[in-house]
């Protein structure tokens, strides 16, 4: 699990172009959206693509993202449960 969390942080930094950030800078229990990383609606859509591209998880609608992207840990749990690749 911790390995997946670390990998996920690296992927998030990469696809969302979080310049100057390292995986250690992201608290896996902190909310991804709202305060903190300064992410917006386009970032949320890009995370949906990440789920599909890297883990073969297809979300039916964008609203599901709201629950899944609560924190990196919640996201990792979801991936563990649903990944197809």
């Amino acid at each position: 699990m911790e390995e997946l969390i670390y990998k996920l942080k690296e992927e998030i930094i990469d696809v969302l172009n979080l310049e100057g950030m390292k995986p250690e800078d992201i608290d896996e229990n902190a909310p991804l959206f709202g305060e903190g990383l300064g992410l917006d609606s386009i970032d949320a859509l890009e995370l949906i693509v990440l789920l599909e591209k890297n883990y073969g998880i297809k979300l039916k609608n964008a609203n599901e993202g709201k629950e899944i992207f609560k924190s990196v840990r919640v996201m990792a749990d979801y991936i563990n449960e649903h990944k197809t690749k």
Binding site: D40, S41, I42, I48
Partner: protein, 388 residues
């Protein structure tokens, strides 16, 4: 009135999947018809989508120059719209007092799929394509391309207005709005989760996204120092404004600030009781329609009937502002307010008087609103010339 000239519509033309000709399109939508339908496996796009697309065999999509050079689908429909507008206006397009303004967001972007080598992608450059369109008519001026995302069509009309108002070289400006769809555009809107899986429902409580559509529309604007000599029922462009929200590149402002400022600019010194209807953008996305409802309410115009034409054609991007102004102009001339097709139960952040049935009006003006990516908003105000 600061305006030196009265800027009026000399002629116009629409080519859409619903039909050819402005009046033909108007009559068809007055009967509640639409070409919006589901496409599955189209253009190699994995997910199905709902859109309004030209019949691939339509000859007006496959035109060529007198030297036999083939025009793209985009150039073909733009040329068709312009050619018919010039015929109706009885104006020579090769004159130096005629300026071409072309409104599009993506032009020939489908070229990128056909040729991966940047050096052979000249057709994808909007200015290049514009020169082929203006060149078809042997017009001697460099055409101006306006590319302001979804508001391009209204932006282009405002540029035309200013060019006629302030530049004595030009007597006529043709504004051509055209857009064709492609895998590029559809996949992008799908990735935004912005598309509705069925006919879009502008201003509806259950709206769930937009539909995309193809079309080309052209309006020739001319100028006159007085209105007495203009025919009865001529449509006059009174004012236009473009304002930025400075809020977000893809999300409309929650407060409708930019659109409100644009509305204020065009309606100041104007008796808003004259406004027969507001032809809004009404894309049927959650945020756009809410934003428009907020701006219209803040401007105090919430009792005026509002419609969106997206339920007939979908969002035709660079063509939308031009085509919707033409259809609204004909509606005003017929003292009619077109029904907002697709709206069942209006439900926006602030209440609007959405037009649910075609209805009569005594007003002699309409307000066109449009907003888009990049945070831009436009408002245009038109009146009906009536000799009393």
């Amino acid at each position: 009135m600061r305006n030196k000239y009265h800027i009026y519509q000399k002629s116009h033309y629409i080519i859409s999947p619903l039909g050819k000709g402005s009046v033909c399109n108007y009559n068809t939508i007055s009967m509640g018809e639409s070409h919006l339908q589901s496409y599955s496996g189209y253009w190699g796009i994995p997910e199905p989508f709902f859109a309004s697309i030209f019949d691939e065999n339509d000859i007006d999509l496959h035109r060529s120059s007198s030297q036999g050079q083939a025009y793209s689908r985009f150039e073909s429909i733009a040329i068709t719209a312009a050619e018919s507008a010039f015929q109706r206006a009885e104006i020579n397009p090769d004159s130096k007092d005629v300026l071409f303004i072309i409104s599009t967001t993506k032009g020939n972007v489908e070229q990128l799929e056909k040729s991966k080598n940047p050096d052979s992608q000249s057709d994808a450059y909007l200015w290049h394509s514009a020169q082929r369109i203006a060149g078809h008519f042997r017009n001697p001026n460099t055409p101006i391309v306006v590319s302001n995302a979804c508001i391009s069509g209204c932006s282009a009309q405002l540029t035309a207005f200013n060019m006629l108002q302030y530049n004595d070289l030009y007597k006529h400006v043709i504004v051509i709005g055209a857009e064709v769809l492609s895998k590029f555009i559809i996949s992008g809107f799908q990735s935004f989760k912005a598309l509705s899986p069925e006919r879009c429902k502008p201003f509806d409580a259950n709206r769930c996204g937009l539909n995309l559509g193809e079309a080309a529309a052209a309006i020739i604007y001319s100028k006159s120092t007085e209105t007495e000599s203009l025919p009865d029922d001529t449509i006059i462009m009174e004012a236009g404004a473009v304002c930025n929200d400075a809020n977000h590149i893809s999300g409309p402002s929650r407060t409708g600030e930019g659109l409100l400022r644009a509305i204020h600019k065009v309606t100041e010194d104007f008796d808003t009781n004259r406004i027969a209807f507001i032809n809004a953008h009404g894309t049927a996305t959650l945020y756009n329609d809410d934003m428009e409802s907020v701006a219209i309410n803040r401007a105090g115009l919430q009792d005026i009937p509002v419609n969106s034409l997206k339920g007939y054609y979908g969002h035709t991007l660079g063509a939308a502002g031009v085509m919707e102004v033409i259809l609204s102009s004909i509606a005003l001339q017929n003292h009619n307010v077109l029904r907002s097709l697709g709206t069942e139960n209006p439900g926006t952040a602030m209440p609007l008087n959405v037009c649910m049935q075609n209805s009569n009006t005594n007003g002699d003006a309409f307000l066109k609103l449009i907003s888009g990516f990049g945070g831009s908003n436009a408002a245009l105000l038109f009146t009906l010339n009536q000799h009393r």
